[in-house]
Subunit: 299 residues, 2 copies
Amino acid sequence: MIAVDWGGSRLRAYRLDGQGNVLASRQGAWGALECGQRFDEVLVATLGDWDDSAVVMCGMIGARGGWHEMPYLACPIGIDEIARGLQRLPGGTSDGRDAWLVPGLRCAEGNATPDVMRGEESQLAALLDAMPAGEFRVCLPGTHCKWVRVRDGRILGFSTSMTGEVYALLRHRSVLGRLMPAGDDALDGDAFDLGLERARSPGGLLRHVFEVRTAALFDRLPPSSLSSFLSGLLIGHELRGTLEGSSAGRGPVHLVGSQQTLEPYARALARQGMEVERHAEDLVARGLHGIWARRASSP
Amino acid sequence: MIAVDWGGSRLRAYRLDGQGNVLASRQGAWGALECGQRFDEVLVATLGDWDDSAVVMCGMIGARGGWHEMPYLACPIGIDEIARGLQRLPGGTSDGRDAWLVPGLRCAEGNATPDVMRGEESQLAALLDAMPAGEFRVCLPGTHCKWVRVRDGRILGFSTSMTGEVYALLRHRSVLGRLMPAGDDALDGDAFDLGLERARSPGGLLRHVFEVRTAALFDRLPPSSLSSFLSGLLIGHELRGTLEGSSAGRGPVHLVGSQQTLEPYARALARQGMEVERHAEDLVARGLHGIWARRASSP
């Protein structure tokens, strides 16, 4: 089968063997929100000569305005129930494949309106299969970072923080970004830690971020360290808003993402005395395989 | 004399009589950060046929990278000391006027690095002259909102919140902005109040702003009300970060700005049981006149 993680700005396809091992992977040209509704054309071009007949997709491709709108299933939920929620894409693809979509999840954990995820449930499916009994916390950093509580193979609930998107806006589009050199942001651990520390003080995020500017103005930090300070401020506020007053769970926090994305989270959690265990983001392929393997016989 | 409020993105010039009354006002073509260092050319074109010989300027025009870098004077400070800090622009303008710049202010009120202002001190100067004895709080909303404590004619300290800039980024550049109709944002009082209320709950700003998206997804708010909800969330967090644990001062909160800018702040403060008094933003002209009138004889 072929597993497809098709988010708003990115398409990744994985060709899997019968045990869910990745044989090959490809990056598509367009995210689900960027391709102007040319979903079939983009997918067919990406899969090309892979001759597998089944395609299982997760992510924004199943959102309203995506290829085929999928419901949000309520938490708590386990993999079997997610698998029962798979839906077949009407008509399949133009190159004759059977395509399936994974539902999204919603939960009402302490929120006025339910929180939602699309795509992360498939990464979580891979973790759930491998975890021992007990309650754990999983963090999936990104544009919209998800913090998830899981217990005994079920997803209990989660919350979303817009940390990645707010960072990108302040880094590249704000008056703060003008103070920072262009190019990749290397993590300056000391400046990052300073941001974490400031985030624990009174004043709130909207005041704290202005300190990126004054730190530059009064030469407290070199320009190349300002992005790390900003990152520390934001992740510090995210941890404060997410961990305070919430049950801790046992064992390490499970972090899912690329090496570069996880580095600041692992550092921030370590400074709070929390253990972490890292997982590569392509575990989504194994998760989609697990969901697919458990589906009821197709309708 | 001519009073000039020259911020990063805006130039406003006022022609004043001997008592500081505004005879005429003009908007210049370029802000101080937009004009590519052509400060003299832009100012001369703006002032045109006004034949006054003295020009007094405040704002980002005195920042590093502006026309002539002015120091930040330390708080607490009164108008006389600000007036003594006026500096003459070397060489004047190319059309033969004497030009002066007002210094900025800094304060270390509970911050790791000093906070700063440029321009707002000249608006405050007008208020200080008119206020009775006692301690007051002044709020100057905008891209970077300033909250100022004043007492007996002196500026004690202040803090900056990036509320306006973060609102603009999330409104126009984020995934949340795509959910909102284009055009002017009319204030929906109920949606705004809902945002204020959510801001008082646990979770933090980075989580709360994602609720703009879920409120749209689950039809809790119509698209035209989402910007008001976002505004309520941000101003609610600003008030929480600014007012909590800070001495309240007596009497109303003095709000300085345009009618449209002040409306949500007046509403948010009223809902916390605080009285407000509004002041138009062009009081900067009277403030610059007051500073100019009190200057020591020119060097």
